[in-house]
């Protein structure tokens, strides 16, 4: 244990953090101005947004390239590797808490706000005076204001998507076993399969959204059922997209011969992230679709 401490490694100065900060500044300003245009006013912000995203992507590539080069030079100690792993773990925890906010909103709407609007507890007068025709049911297909929509069933596409994601969790586990046993061929097959399953999931998700908008009238603004449905599945979809991109980059690196059976932090981080995305989907499937 003690030999890990023999020499600490402090990475050299780098321009990428400040470039990243500028990118996030442009993204925040650009996104803000773009959203403001939605309600009619404001100047053209989307170019600022695109510029910010482009700089961020450039920054991420350059930063990671530096890190990979340093790693290949053998500069990183086992301690550094632990720091990376722990950092990734806490990042995933923060992501879990982000989803908790939206699950919290879902539970609050289902268990509290919708029943109260229907007169539960001591809220009989809320219902009687404000929304006399409103009935508290979930999924909320008719809002107190009278907007109607249809519910998304769980049996068709969502069930298939669940199976796809679960399968992808298994394939990435096999890929993990393969990389640890230095079976490069199996690794490439299983990781490619995982990426493919991720892409299919996303494709089906887009199809489901089209179905919701065109056939069901289930839209983002269709009351709190549609709100929670689209924000939860939407943010999950964004995370799957990011996870697929990460896995794809890792796959390219594997084809370039990166990683060994001992040192493969990037692969491991990507795998953890993928499992996290999977678990979130399982919760989504149960609480958004089935129940």
């Amino acid at each position: 244990m003690n030999q890990n401490y023999e020499k600490y490694y402090v990475p050299a100065e780098s321009p990428w953090p400040i470039v990243g900060a500028i990118a996030m500044f442009l993204i925040a300003v650009g996104a803000g101005l773009t959203v403001m245009q939605v309600s009619g006013e404001g100047s053209s912000g989307q170019y600022v947004l695109y510029l910010g995203i482009a700089i961020l992507v450039y920054m991420v590539f350059s930063w990671f390239r530096n890190v990979i080069e340093e790693s290949h030079k053998g500069l990183y100690s086992a301690q550094m590797d632990r720091s990376f792993k722990q950092g990734m773990g806490w990042f995933i925890f923060s992501e879990v808490m982000f989803f908790m906010a939206f699950f919290g909103a879902l539970f609050y709407a289902r268990m509290i706000s919708v029943p109260w609007l229907g007169g539960a507890g001591n809220n009989a007068m809320t219902n009687e005076v404000l929304w006399p025709t409103f009935e508290a049911v979930w999924p909320l297909l008719t809002t107190p204001a009278g907007e109607t929509t249809q519910a998304m069933g769980w049996q068709g596409l969502p069930l298939i998507n669940t199976l796809i994601l679960l399968t992808s969790s298994v394939t990435i586990h096999f890929a993990h076993v393969a990389i640890e046993n230095n079976k490069r061929g199996a690794l490439k097959v299983f990781l490619s399969l995982t990426v493919l399953l991720g892409v299919i999931f996303l494709g089906l998700q887009v199809y489901e959204y089209m179905h919701a908008y065109q056939d069901l009238g289930l839209t983002l603004d269709a009351g709190v059922y549609g709100n929670t449905f689209f924000l939860l599945t939407g943010f999950h979809g964004m995370h799957v997209t990011l996870g697929t991109i990460i896995l794809f980059v890792v796959l390219l690196r594997i084809f370039k011969g990166h990683f060994t059976s001992e040192k493969h932090f990037a692969f491991q981080a990507a795998a953890w992230y993928w499992h996290f995305v999977d678990v979130v989907w399982l919760c989504l499937f149960v609480f958004v679709y089935v129940l």
């Binding site: 500044f25 925040a28 803000g32 906010a101 706000s113 404000l130 983002l220 549609g226």
Partner: protein, 531 residues
């Protein structure tokens, strides 16, 4: 912690590629925890002055009843942005700066665990606040819904620039999360051999727990602003009863973040006070282990008390009772801390250097703020106090004479270590006494006007409150001006002064006093041995 064998390897020259770049590039590209700590602290002081200037606008308007100087919409922007800047721009970055400077030195690490990410998390902050401040100058003005941005004030009734506020909060949240991850990983992974958990200095312990709170709740804040964004711009109805949502839901989500946030701003303060009081009492901290457990208990309890901010929203009685008792429970571990500090001083050989004076002021005045908090925790009493100046008095006692005083104490305590020079004692004494007196003139009468029913966040008030408000405003201006003295002390100290020895305070313990003053650019490249 007592027998520290000092094996710091500051003289070893094998890290020649780590000399800082010249000029401003050093500050943009740095991976050095001391540079980044300084950046955080300078940024925080700047924001403290800007946020303070806004408080001056508020107090000038409230100096006399009636609308005098600014228009009410601008007044609302001032109260909102004052709160946002002081919470996210002044107090939190100050603690992060102190953590950056001190945590690696206290645990015998060469730097933070993820130095580049450290630099990134700092540099996001100035940009985030640039967006927030710039929105004040845009047509329609800046955020005017209070720093708590309750729906529907922030959705239905907010101006069109709210999106900029939302994204500014997003990126400052990302900055906080990255900073917190860095602190946790540093403490867990970079402790020198022999630095076991129960040998950690309390400042490190409190920051470890603070960092956990940050990672747990900043994403929830991100969720809350996101829902505000979609409610305002994309016609969702999370916080709108017509679509099945509920404005009260906003308050639940916000305060699930907001209450742990309160402890994020006070736990590191506890750590600083637990460092300073033993030094100047020349005794070991009384009840070290109980301090660790009390800090953890406060952190855990902070997750189940949020709705005490919302007693008047019409929660079911069972909920009000639960949150009332849970809140009162927090006074137990907090009391443990206060008694431990007092017991540390008991029969100590106390000397009254500036850090100690601020620390003692902290203990007395923070406790006062704690007591008013206990009053607010009582549900039926809160029905009376809610949204009055009593609340304003309460949280300014815990945040100004609490958090800010602890930051001042820490700054005076470690300034000689940072700069290598002693600060000007006379000026510092003036700063302390002027601050202490003026801050009480400023905040103490707020209790009375609050109990008498003066509502917060209103630019005008009934004639009966006129005298008290004039006194409060005078206290406010005096407190604001006194802080310029602090800027002067820091500036002079950085420029020069009496040279400080490695161990600046004779009663001080800890690894940071084993290295030279000023601390060398790189410390502990080879870990010290702790026995």
């Amino acid at each position: 912690m007592s027998n520290v064998i000092n094996e710091q390897a500051t003289g070893h020259a094998h890290h020649d590629h780590h000399h800082p770049a010249k000029g401003f590039k050093r500050w943009l590209y740095t991976t050095n925890h001391k540079d980044i700590g300084s950046l955080y602290l300078i940024f925080s002081l700047t924001m403290f002055l800007i946020g303070g200037a806004m408080a001056m606008v508020i107090r000038a308007e409230l100096f006399q009843p009636g609308l005098q100087l600014v228009d009410p919409h601008f007044f609302n922007q001032m109260t909102t942005v004052h709160g946002l800047i002081m919470v996210f721009g002044a107090v939190m970055p100050a603690f992060t700066g102190l953590a950056n400077w001190m945590v690696p030195m206290m645990i015998g690490a060469p730097d933070m665990a993820l130095p580049r990410m450290n630099n990134w998390s700092f540099w996001i902050l100035p940009f985030a606040f640039l967006i927030l401040l710039a929105s004040l100058l845009m047509p329609g003005g800046g955020p005017a819904f209070g720093w708590t941005f309750y729906a529907p004030l922030s959705t239905t009734y907010s101006n069109d620039n709210t999106a900029l506020f939302v994204f500014a909060v997003h990126i400052m949240g990302i900055s906080s999360i990255m900073g917190a991850i860095n602190v946790i990983v540093t403490i867990v992974n970079l402790r020198a051999p022999g630095m076991t958990w129960m040998k950690l200095p309390l400042f490190v312990w409190t920051w470890l727990i603070t960092a956990f709170l940050l990672i747990a709740v900043m994403p929830v804040l991100a969720g809350a602003v996101t829902m505000v964004l979609t409610d305002k711009y994309f016609a969702t109805s999370f916080f709108d009863a017509a679509g099945g949502g509920d404005p009260v839901m906003f308050q639940h989500i916000f305060w699930f973040f907001g209450h742990p946030e309160v402890y994020i701003m006070i736990l590191p303060a506890f750590g600083i006070i637990s460092t300073i009081v033993p030094t100047f009492s020349r005794k070991k901290l009384f009840g070290y282990a109980s301090m660790v457990y009390a800090t953890s208990s406060i952190a855990l309890l902070s997750f189940i008390v949020w709705a005490h901010h919302m007693f008047t929203t019409g929660m079911p009685v069972a909920g009000e009772l639960f949150f009332m008792y849970a809140t009162m429970l927090i006074s137990v571990p907090t009391g443990v801390k206060v008694f431990n500090w007092v017991a540390t001083m008991w029969r100590g050989s106390i000397s009254f250097e500036i850090p100690m004076m601020f620390a003692i002021a902290f203990i007395v005045l923070f406790t006062l703020g704690g007591f008013s908090g206990l009053m607010l925790a009582i549900t039926p009493a809160d029905f009376q106090y809610h949204d009055t100046y009593f609340v304003v008095a309460h949280f300014h006692y815990v945040l100004v004479t609490g958090a800010v005083f602890s930051i001042m104490a820490g700054a005076y305590y470690w300034l000689p270590k940072w700069t290598g020079n002693m600060y000007n004692e006379t000026l510092a004494k003036w700063h302390f006494w002027l601050s202490l007196i003026s801050v009480n003139v400023l905040f103490f009468p707020m209790h009375f006007v609050g109990l008498a029913g003066m509502p917060r966040r209103i630019p005008d008030y009934a004639l009966q409150f006129a005298d008290f408000n004039a006194i409060i405003s005078i206290g406010g201006f005096a407190f604001g001006l006194s802080q310029l003295l602090f800027v002067l002390v820091v500036f002079k100290c950085a420029r020069g002064g009496e040279k400080a020895p490695a161990k600046v305070w004779d009663g001080a313990e800890g690894l940071e006093w084993e290295v030279d003053s000023p601390a060398p650019y790189h410390t502990f490249e080879t870990p010290p041995e702790i026995k």
